[in-house]
Symmetry: C2
Subunit: 241 residues, 2 copies
């Protein structure tokens, strides 16, 4: 039986590094897919490359997509990234990128189809990103349906059995649970970066939503974050609010 193949969306963050460790431990040949999307944090892409090399993926593709054409997000335009925001609000944050996961999954689908991959791994999380519509399980289910209707694999596959599966093993985990899972798989989180607004040297700000979630996760897991932060005080006082 040939080794099973997957496409895995690799951002360079904590979640996708954990995802890659998991897919590797399940024996997949991994085609990693990253995006350069006019985002401010090219630091993430460097981290993605390092992580992809570490896990010896079969292929690492970086697709260039220009979401700035559409504007509308603090991650792709000139709106300032909010700091020390209340993490538990139900509001959709300004860092939400319009239709981002739909676009990312569409590219993953194209890659899966040309590479004969049966699974697409995406590190979405419904708990930490409750404000993002495209991180919900019902969105993922609907996209899986599209994936199987859109492709040759779906058309030529067996009836009632999806030829392409969208895998979201982190969707129901808290950040602390993801970190504990990663630790059990030997993930070195010093390789990862999560910050929306890092310093030119690539140090995390410690104050944006992504940093706050990450630091809270490490605190809840009873661990310290090995990634570099701009001011060491922020890391020391790692439980936010």
């Amino acid at each position: 039986m040939p080794q099973k193949r997957c496409v895995l969306l690799l951002s360079g963050g904590l979640d996708s590094a954990t995802l890659l460790a998991l897919a590797t431990s399940e024996g997949y040949l991994v085609h990693a897919l990253s995006f350069r999307y006019g985002q401010r944090h090219a630091t993430e892409l460097k981290a993605a490359e390092k992580i992809a090399r570490h896990y010896q993926v079969v292929q690492h593709v970086t697709a260039e997509i220009d979401l700035r054409v559409f504007g509308g997000s603090a991650l792709t335009s000139d709106i300032p990234v909010p700091r020390r925001r209340d993490l538990d609000t139900a509001e959709i944050p300004v860092t939400y990128v319009p239709a981002r996961n739909t676009i990312f999954l569409s590219y993953a689908l194209a890659l899966a189809e040309t590479r004969g991959a049966t699974d697409i791994f995406i590190g979405v999380n419904a708990l930490d990103y409750s404000g993002y519509p495209d991180c919900r399980p019902e969105f993922i289910e609907a996209f899986e349906k599209v994936a199987n209707l859109a492709t040759r694999a779906g058309v030529e596959g067996k009836v009632g059995e999806p030829a392409i599966r969208i895998r979201t093993p982190l969707i129901g985990l808290t950040k602390a649970e993801i970190i504990r899972l990663g630790k059990s798989l030997g993930v070195d989180y010093a390789m990862t970066t999560s910050c929306y607004d890092p310093s030119p040297a690539g140090e995390a700000c410690g104050e944006c939503d992504a940093c706050a979630l990450r630091l809270r996760g490490f605190a809840e897991a009873g661990l310290s974050d090995p990634a570099p932060y701009v001011a060491s005080e922020n890391v020391a006082s790692s439980s936010p609010t």
Copy 2:
């Protein structure tokens, strides 16, 4: 009541020009969206610009996407474009671009969301392109579901009523019917181009699938195609096979 807005996928071909004439006649403010996707036919993009200007769209965005990363199609790689192929085969043609309509609709969704558009017009056709999985009505329905789960508009919209609709008015029409519809709306088909493999001067080859379908459509509609072809003999003998 504010004027309704739509995003409309504009390729520069016969179908999307007809689609734009239709959306304009229905009173929409149109945000036209074209793609530069490593395809050989930049001629199409010039046609798209001309058509967009003619119909005075509110905005015409051209997004650059590099499908070549994925390979696998005669339209984006070095596989030769087939000529004089049997149009009525059920096979998926080599000109099929992996997950193309899924990617195109994802971008359209991002644009619709940032511009407050309620409708996305796409000129897919289930009759002429029966070999393309992502031209089928069931694919479109599944994508509409994704669109409404993926976006703020969907989350904040009324229950049971899609906030974003994917409109495919050409899906059940033959090429001849599309041409007759366009003629009734005053479309000048000399502005459009359909060829997969045009000459450097932008003349259609008359022999690829797209040309063959187009010429058959004009012949069935009892009209002659005003677009330029490389050798006038091809146009004269316009009914293929």
